[in-house]
């Protein structure tokens, strides 16, 4: 079973390392990990896809909560959520195949974002399954290069409670109280 976890953390130097180091050290099986800014300045948001059973997912949540810089963690597996991944795929083309590739892309509501003489770049957004399936179709044409972001997730609905303990204050801001700069 795959679990989707979201964690918010103070954007301090090395925080990604702290989290990934903990996951490696505790031997958790992480399918994907994606980091980005959140709506709060100074707070980053990480989305994890964890492979395992409920107990493993539960342990990942608890161990993440223990990382001091992590301000909140949520397992959104059972919630209604928008789950998306973005992929950029450079496919080899010939005059004979170009039309077919563009057609496939349209079926998947993917966009062609770059065209050159012998290849084009398809941008796909969707669930991992959808992206997987598009990639399968593209393979016979020859995939020259590819990048996938890994899953990002946002819960649906508008009366959604904020995850507990998300603070707007950040380390640097507090430290600045102190006045003097680097000596």
């Amino acid at each position: 079973m795959k679990y989707t976890l979201v964690a918010w953390m103070r954007d301090t130097p090395g925080v990604l390392n702290r989290v990934s180091g903990m996951l490696r050290r505790r031997n958790f099986n992480i399918d994907s990990l994606q980091v980005s800014h959140s709506e709060t300045p100074g707070i980053s948001r990480m989305t994890f896809v964890v492979a395992g059973d409920k107990r493993v997912a539960d342990q990942v949540v608890k161990q993440l909560r223990k990382v001091v810089d992590v301000t909140a963690v949520e397992d959104i597996t059972d919630q209604l959520a928008v789950l998306r991944e973005l992929a950029l795929i450079r496919v080899r083309t010939t005059t004979a195949t170009r039309g077919e590739i563009v057609q496939f892309a349209e079926i998947y509501r993917a966009q062609i974002v770059d065209v050159s003489a012998e290849s084009l770049v398809v941008q796909a957004v969707g669930t991992e399954e959808k992206v997987d399936s598009l990639i399968e179709f593209m393979k016979p044409f020859g995939i020259e290069e590819m990048v996938r972001t890994g899953r990002v997730a946002l819960c649906r609905g508008d009366n959604r409670s904020k995850p507990e303990k998300l603070s707007t204050s950040v380390f640097k801001a507090t430290a600045r109280l102190n006045g003097s700069g680097r000596g």
């Binding site: 953390m9 090395g14 342990q59 608890k62 001091v68 430290a175 102190n178 003097s180 680097r182 000596g183």
Partner: protein, 596 residues
């Protein structure tokens, strides 16, 4: 909501914002945390901090203990912290100084000991250049710390110091390292310490759930064969008394973990001593036969559980624990009470009915009697065996009215100490339980003694482990300490030899260990010492040690190939143990004997 439980020692000292250097800020922070002692070793990258220490040392506000190896600075801070419940502080230079700390920090972190480590780092402009004595200390120590910091900006230093002590101390204690660049130590800035700690991601004191507590009480009230498995958390939360009340109210036997030793007095009829790999057969039997197991402040380490799927297979399990990540990590309990035992245990008591469990206790006592009969100490009188030495050490220290602290190293002697020394109190045994760090005993004993010069501190070590950190004998003399040292000298790395005997057909590879003449060695440090070779010499030597002012070392040259029994082989269930050989049989392994 996080509630601060154990308040920082209020030094009452805060003259408000002051202009000063980063180096001074280190010491000013310590003063505000009520710290008056640090264990360390200087070097280039921490020199500004050492230089700034001079006035604090001169007027006695902060005492620096020079160690002979940084590993021991961390162990001393650890021993100091375990003996006092306060944060221990160690300090080292960059590169090799910091990497030398690692074993000591890992030891403290594994056993939930509050330690703050301060290390110097190369100047900020050299960071990442493989500069002389540069190492990525934050990276190296991250897995063995509760949290750590690299400080490159003087503006952040005061808050970092305050957070470091807060994190190390609050909740489940642990290690926090602060790595400070040399130019940051030299920089000037404004020091203040009146910050409110704002750590939204740090939840030191989760509030317990009253329903869970009631569910736990319901289970225990229904139990016919209840058992408590009490760990280090009891001591960390100072709830030994409440535990005893609970135990007596409902007549519940208690098994402890190694770090839970003495949670209830071991002379108490309901105390079954330590369980697990070298726990007594009746203690492990109790674990396997109980119908409700209440685990308190412990983490189901493999040394206590043995084979997990067969552990307490007949029991419903209740887990009282502060650190929620320990709940469900190894054992999924039927009821979990997450919270501080200092809150949950007093709230639990009134929910528990007064009861007797005479049949259950009777059954355990039959087992206990059988075990005692087979005990080597009952019949082996001709030769000097370690259990006898330890038992006599207990008798000798029993008579003193001083506070007694026993610090053990790691190996056979550590297990014998646990079995044959009778601990009356939580916190009187300091030992490396989680990491099992050889070399721990001597420096930790020094740290403990520094915290209480009037205590009677016994360092009990094997000939192997003692040789790992014996250079600290010099520290004992430099600090004029009166640590007493017992070396259980069996000519082997005993515990490993025992495994080779049992699991590797007696191929003693790398385990015979040569020792120096310990009396001569002690003499070189001007420490009085004695050799003991025969049982009759044990008591006089111990008496001499106690009668001597200052330190004393005894080299107990014990019988070589004695094994620690009972023993649960790694991976076996705790009731598949190798029992003590019956009297008259050779000590040693003779196949797995039927357990019961």
């Amino acid at each position: 909501m996080a509630i601060a439980k154990r308040e920082p020692i209020d030094s009452g000292y805060d003259p408000g914002p002051l202009e000063m250097t980063g180096s001074q800020m280190i010491w000013e922070s310590l003063l505000r945390e009520g710290i008056d002692i640090v264990f360390g070793h200087p070097g280039g990258a921490i020199l500004p901090a050492y230089d700034a220490l001079a006035p604090y040392e001169a007027d006695g506000r902060i005492h620096h203990v020079l160690v002979r190896h940084e590993q021991c600075a961390a162990h001393m801070a650890d021993g100091y912290a375990r003996a006092t419940g306060r944060v221990g502080v160690c300090i080292a230079t960059s590169g090799p100084g910091a990497t030398n700390l690692v074993t000591g920090l890992a030891t403290a972190q594994m056993d939930s000991v509050p330690v703050v480590a301060i290390t110097g780092q190369v100047p900020t402009n050299l960071l990442g250049t493989d500069a002389f004595q540069e190492s990525d200390v934050v990276g190296i120590t991250q897995p063995v710390c509760k949290h750590n910091y690299l400080v490159t900006d003087i503006a952040e230093l005061p808050l970092v110091m305050k957070e470091a002590f807060y994190i190390a101390r609050e909740g489940r204690p642990g290690v926090v390292l602060v790595d400070i660049c040399k130019d940051t130590q030299n920089a000037a800035g404004v020091f203040r310490y009146d910050f409110d700690i704002d750590l939204p991601g740090f939840e030191p004191w989760p509030e317990y759930n009253a329903e869970a507590l009631q569910a736990a009480a319901d289970l225990l009230n229904r139990a016919e064969r209840p058992l408590i498995l009490a760990g280090h958390g009891i001591h960390l939360s100072y709830t030994s008394e409440e535990l005893l009340k609970l135990v007596e109210k409902a007549e519940i036997p208690v098994v402890t973990t190694l770090l839970g030793t003495g949670n209830i007095p071991e002379t108490h009829p309901l105390s079954l001593g330590m369980g697990g790999m070298h726990g007594e057969a009746f203690a492990n039997r109790a674990v396997q036969a109980c119908d409700v197991l209440v685990a308190m402040g412990m983490r189901f380490d493999d040394r206590i559980t043995g084979r997990l799927d067969r552990f307490a297979a007949n029991a419903e399990i209740v887990h009282f624990e502060l650190d929620r990540s320990e709940v469900g990590k190894n054992i999924v309990p039927d009821v979990a009470v997450i919270g501080d035992l200092a809150e949950t245990l007093p709230a639990f008591l009134p929910l528990i009915q007064e009861r007797h469990h005479s049949d259950w206790v009777q059954e355990l006592n039959v087992w206990r009697a059988e075990t005692n009969e087979a005990d080597i100490i009952q019949y082996e009188v001709e030769e000097l065996i370690p259990p006898f030495v330890i038992r006599q050490l207990w008798h000798a220290t029993e008579r003193t009215d001083k506070r007694v602290i026993v610090v053990t190293d790691v190996g056979q002697h550590q297990m014998w100490e646990s079995q044959y020394y009778i601990h009356e109190e939580a916190g009187m045994l300091l030992t490396s339980g989680g990491l099992g760090t050889m070399g721990y005993a001597l420096p930790a004993a020094i740290g403990a003694q520094m915290s209480d010069p009037h205590a009677l501190v016994w360092c009990v070590a094997g000939d192997g482990g003692f040789q790992m950190t014996l250079q600290e004998l010099a520290t004992i003399q430099q600090e004029k300490l009166s640590v007493k040292i017992a070396i259980i000298n069996n000519g082997f790395l005993g515990m490993v030899r025992q495994w080779q005997q049992i699991f590797y057909e007696k191929r003693y590879v790398g385990t015979p260990v040569l020792s120096p003449d310990y009396v001569k060695l002690a003499d070189a440090y001007d420490i009085p010492a004695a050799v003991v070779r025969h049982p009759s010499e044990v008591v006089p030597a111990l008496e001499q040690a106690h009668a001597t002012e200052g330190p004393f070392l005894i080299d107990f040259q014990v019988k070589e190939e004695v094994n620690v029994y009972p023993m649960v082989a790694p991976g076996a269930a705790v009731d598949e143990l190798i029992r003590r050989p019956k009297p008259g049989y050779a000590q040693g392994y003779s196949g797995v004997q039927p357990s019961w």
